[in-house]
């Protein structure tokens, strides 16, 4: 499979360059746009050299947007905070619920465990609206509609299967002999779990947590249905922002950059674990 011929190498070089342009261009372009005034954006032909401005970011952070219809108060920073709070809380809850269960599924063969693991897995692949629409009616009845807790709870649909299946794989890879030896020294199962199993599965738990955070942050449809304006994360907030700000394209671009930066940085940091995480442990990276 080694293409060492000159033609082969040139072909591969061009192909790779095209691939890089296609996948990177949108991110680079929106990034550049976020530092342009509306006048600069509307210029035709578009220019690559321009006087950068921080005005779009300043307007977003102050929450005062100048539009043709006058001043508009939109708190995009609040959306960012919502995304952060909702995703973090969801991941913490999922780790608390999921890690002990993953340990139980890995160490004990019991029917209920398999049933739970597969039910959660199959719901990972079921249409989210199927659960969300009836849930939104229930939430209205029990007063959970438009609450942080209500949203964090449905985020378990995203985070829990991920954590269960990835962490379970890590626990299965640790030989139970180590824990046996530790138990023989007179320690309880709880000590064996917290001092041996959890630290050894640490990288897997961290990877599953990071990935769950990214997927919760990127989720759109859950909050679209369950959250009103002041509980909305950036994904839903950005869409509302586009509708509200109309033609303030520079500010829209800046809002997009602020929305994607946290997950992109986390992804670069966690890239070693992405293969496993994305395939729920089916493919080892």
């Amino acid at each position: 499979m080694e293409h060492s011929s000159l033609a082969g190498r040139i072909f591969r070089g061009i192909a790779l360059a095209l691939v890089l342009v296609f996948f990177m261009f949108p991110i680079v372009w929106i990034f550049l746009m976020s530092f342009q005034t509306n006048e600069q954006i509307l210029r035709i032909p578009p220019r690559l050299v321009f006087e950068p401005t921080l005005g779009n970011y300043a307007a977003l952070i102050s929450g005062q947007l100048r539009t043709t219809a006058g001043n508009l108060e939109i708190s995009f920073v609040h959306n960012l905070w919502n995304s952060f709070a909702l995703s973090s809380a969801a991941v913490v809850l999922a780790l608390l619920l999921g890690v002990p269960a993953a340990y139980a599924f890995a160490r004990f063969k019991f029917k209920l465990g398999e049933t739970i693991a597969f039910t959660l897995l199959s719901f990972r692949f079921a249409p989210p609206l199927l659960v969300l629409l009836p849930l939104s009616l229930y939430y209205q009845d029990i007063g959970l509609n438009d609450t942080y807790f209500g949203i964090v709870w449905v985020y378990q649909l995203i985070a829990l299967p991920l954590i269960l299946w990835i962490v379970r794989g890590y626990f299965e890879d640790i030989s139970p002999d180590i824990e046996h030896a530790y138990r023989l020294a007179g320690h309880s199962w709880r000590e064996a779990f917290t001092r041996i199993a959890v630290p050894l599965a640490g990288p897997g738990i961290a990877a599953a947590g990071l990935l769950s955070f990214i997927f919760c942050w990127n989720n759109f449809v859950f909050a679209l249905i369950l959250a009103s304006a002041d509980k909305q994360p950036v994904t839903v907030g950005a869409l509302a922002f586009v509708t509200a700000s109309g033609i303030q394209y520079g500010q829209i671009a800046a809002a997009i950059v602020l929305s994607v930066t946290p997950t992109l940085l986390l992804a670069l940091y966690a890239q070693r674990y992405l293969v496993e995480g994305l395939s729920l442990g089916a493919v080892k990276g």
Partner: protein, 310 residues
């Protein structure tokens, strides 16, 4: 107590545990079980709704009507449109992403530092929220100033309206889907390619076997489990696509992009027809269920192998 006895009574072996040990697995998985039940309840409710005449604006008409919601679909052109668009969207995205992802994985196969850097950078679209990705492409395809509109105008295409024209809307959302999800296929296949044993390739090289033969008779068959896993993951997500299409056009222009979940969302929130919305989602669930059964069977085999090797 001998060591053997102790091992036997330890909860780690699962059998012959002490009374408390026997309950341990159940105790540990209790919270996850509660979440499961909390998901199952709305699911069963949705199934029940699909058998009712249930409109939020006409609550007094609510009642059990059997499978009438489903039968209505048979004569409803909007339903057939939804089914057709969903399937076409799924087929186009999965096939194109598979071909493109496989091609890129082959390009990056040798684990050089440069190739590794490229494969990491290519993950960025995948980690962008799909709804936000749709907004990015919306800005780039704006008829007034969008860079892509400008670029196609350089080739003499002055009136290309991307997502706002019925004839190019599907092309545009498929393009966004490809941008977001091709890296998913790429990264899985790349991991697969790099984990293949070297011997068959070395033997083929020694015998001077032509590259095309190596590719179709060695590489592809050995890569098959990875290809199946990656494409079924994508298949299940793609047939349920909501974020990209909703953020881009809300199913429009007209009903050009009315895929299942967008249609169900609008039935529920715009037409407040809970029964119909639930029935649509049940049909989608049935389709995904058939697909996931195929998927989970293959996936478990692969997972068992991955852990067997580790």
């Amino acid at each position: 107590m001998s060591i053997l006895q102790l091992l036997h009574t330890s909860p780690l072996t699962g059998r012959k545990a002490r009374p408390r040990g026997r309950w341990l697995p159940y105790l540990l998985s209790l919270p996850a079980l509660l979440v499961c039940i909390a998901i199952l309840v709305p699911f069963v409710t949705a199934a029940a709704y699909s058998l009712q005449r249930y409109r939020l604006n006409l609550p007094y008409l609510r009642g059990f009507i059997g499978v009438d919601n489903y039968i209505d679909f048979l004569s409803d052109p909007a339903f057939w449109n939804t089914l057709r668009i969903s399937l076409v969207y799924t087929a186009l995205t999965v096939i194109l992403e598979l071909l493109l992802g496989l091609g890129i994985a082959l390009l990056l196969r040798r684990p050089t530092r440069f190739h590794n850097a490229v494969s990491i950078v290519l993950l960025l679209p995948l980690m962008t929220a799909p709804a936000i990705a749709a907004l990015m492409w919306k800005l780039m395809t704006n008829p007034g100033f969008g860079i892509l509109s400008y670029l196609v105008s350089l080739f003499g295409v002055t009136d290309f309206k991307w997502a706002s024209d019925p004839s190019s809307a599907l092309f545009t959302v498929v393009l966004v889907d490809i941008w977001v999800y091709t890296p998913f296929i790429m990264i899985l296949l790349l991991a697969g390619l790099r984990s293949l044993p070297r011997q068959p390739f070395e033997a083929a090289a020694l015998d001077g076997v032509p590259a095309s033969f190596v590719f179709f008779r060695i590489t592809l068959p050995m890569l098959a489990p990875y290809i199946i896993t990656a494409s079924l993951f994508r298949l299940l997500d793609s047939i349920q696509q909501f974020d990209i299409i909703y953020a881009m056009t809300q199913g429009g222009p007209g009903d050009r992009l009315m895929v299942f979940q967008v249609q169900a969302y609008l039935e529920f929130f715009q037409y407040t027809n809970v029964g119909r919305s639930a029935a649509l989602l049940m049909i989608l669930w049935l389709i995904t269920n058939i697909l996931s059964n195929i998927f989970i069977r293959n996936w478990l085999r692969l997972r068992a192998r991955a852990h067997g090797q580790a």
